[in-house]
Subunit: 418 residues, 2 copies
Amino acid sequence: MIAEIIAAGSEMLTPHRSDTNSLHLTARLNALGVSVAFKTIVGDNLEHLTSAITIALGRADILLITGGLGPTEDDLTREAVAAALHIELHRSPELLTAMYKRFAERRQTMPPNNAKQADVLSGAEVLPNANGSAPGQWLDTVVSGHRKLILLLPGPPREMEPLFAAECEPRLARNLPERHLARRQLRIALVPESKVDSLAAPVYKKFKDVETTILATAGEIQLHFLCAKPTLAEAQRRVDALASKLEDILGDSVFSSRGESIEEVILLRLEMRSLTLAVAESLTGGLLSSRITAVPGASKVFLGGAIVYNESLKQSLAAVPAPLIAQHGAVSEQVARALAEGIRKQTGADFGLALTGVAGPGPLTDSDGKEKPAGLVYFAASDGRETTTLKKTFTGDRDRIRSFAALQALDLLRRLLD
Amino acid sequence: MIAEIIAAGSEMLTPHRSDTNSLHLTARLNALGVSVAFKTIVGDNLEHLTSAITIALGRADILLITGGLGPTEDDLTREAVAAALHIELHRSPELLTAMYKRFAERRQTMPPNNAKQADVLSGAEVLPNANGSAPGQWLDTVVSGHRKLILLLPGPPREMEPLFAAECEPRLARNLPERHLARRQLRIALVPESKVDSLAAPVYKKFKDVETTILATAGEIQLHFLCAKPTLAEAQRRVDALASKLEDILGDSVFSSRGESIEEVILLRLEMRSLTLAVAESLTGGLLSSRITAVPGASKVFLGGAIVYNESLKQSLAAVPAPLIAQHGAVSEQVARALAEGIRKQTGADFGLALTGVAGPGPLTDSDGKEKPAGLVYFAASDGRETTTLKKTFTGDRDRIRSFAALQALDLLRRLLD
């Protein structure tokens, strides 16, 4: 079975935006035993889109089209599929009613152009979109004597991905030979990708039946393992064996062996011990707290904290003595320590976590008269009895330094809670 | 002039690798006045590649093919172009000699399969590759009565980009009418994409010579305008005229007419008036501050603030009176107001900006005994004389509610600084 993915949207023909949906879809299709043979990216142009669809139907068994399902004039996927197949679009009264209701619930009037989102291809099943107004469509049809599965999917990943998982994967699985999939994920903090890769490569050689993917984002590595076998138990055994071999090799830099984020690991460990946390952050300016509070239920253990960007706030919100800043500078181990201990006392939290550093661009002339380079960061974590400190120098631009610093602060706490 | 870019390489049909060369090429082509209408990604398969090239030559004036020029069996671009055009490949003695020399200089023996890199399409010019062994090719030909420019480019960006700049851009410029490009960008906060689109569509009809792109991210819309004309002044006049018509229609929801982010707009306005800012954030848990401090130089006006996630911190860090929370609940206009005024006083900032709400998932039973729904948020901004408040209810998941709330807080302040 061969698939083609068409990404519809003029923005993907600019220098600014590329099609990333096809990567996600390819992974899920591969897992179902389907290869992607072509990808086409086409603008919001009815003639171009119709011709791309016609071409795709001539060479692929499964056609997935992302984007072009919205309410604007530029959203032409439904029309183009209808034109390519010479079939009709019908406006669905049920969808239209649901759309009016959705707008009414938000106390908004539905703009008339939205109605086209209720247009359904003749013979297609409607795929409900839990995260947006444009539903997907599934069409199982025959073109020139060959069976074709045509999937219309919304463009935004946060709509497309859950819709594909809920509505398309089960339908595809029913139409494809049976396979059972097992997945595992290891997550690793603050080890370079090339190092993880060189440690993992020899192990992978013994697991050729497991599909491995390495994803690297600011300071974090994710290793994804996927195995397809006739039975789930067999597939699970293989991914588990691979994960456990790699855990032995990578040691305590692995913070998660089931896919949880480092924030989730920390919050869970704190919650299990009924401990609370407060933070004082300087150079990260809210990024550390924002990562923690992105987790639902964070409020059970996270009390809050202070963004002590300015020196005066280090004193007023986190009780750092002014002479300490004058003597050692705001970017110093002493001030990191005082911030962690200070925010802990100010908030009554069990744990105080703090960091102070230079985000850049460019160095900082600190209050102690010394020049501190961009990327220099001091960390401290205090539980009231003991305060652990750490000094790191990160390279890269402001964004990278801030992300690495936030991750390092989380990893320091994660190791203390081990 | 319409271009198509074909990226050849099976690795780009896996979940792990996407085509990024086309972004670079699109930027350079746009600057020459050439639009990219199609992108095709195809594997290392002679039949697939030949058919993709045939299709592209039927719909584009300029065809750029990246990848497939190496020495391996999988490198099939030369063969596929020859097959699509029914022309011959000739092995160039000069290229072959240069290749042998290159290997000899490294004291290596050239593997025999490398010789195919000396195969040149009949009628093509060879484009020297300063950073690799596979040269590019430039073919100016006629297909079915239409002139076609066909460019064969190496796949690795560090080879492709300098080769394109040195060899292709001058050749393309000589073959294209002289054009100058002007760009503008409008950014709009908290107006639905469909509404912006329906307001803008009638205006676009009068500016068919301006290429427009709409990009939507959490609560923000970006409108990009691009116009190519024989003179820069003419092109600039058109994008400026379009931008100014849309600014009239969209009114004060346009926060930026030159592309600055809303954080940059706020920081600039505060800096120009020598004013400082502090924030107190509840449900956004650091996200608002993190957005502000992501801007280099934010420390000139942003003092910091408090993440008052827990009720006790609203009192200890932002001086909100406990009875106020008990009476109205933490999620209330009164507490938002007290937070903005309190953080202003605690930090000595000129402006205090605050928000309190329910990020979800699920509602909150507040201290006043009332249930507050997920998405309900109160905002306040205080300059010491006056405090402005705002109530909003956002829909969607926790991430969306947090992003919209942070953006709304920024937009409230932006409007006060207008």
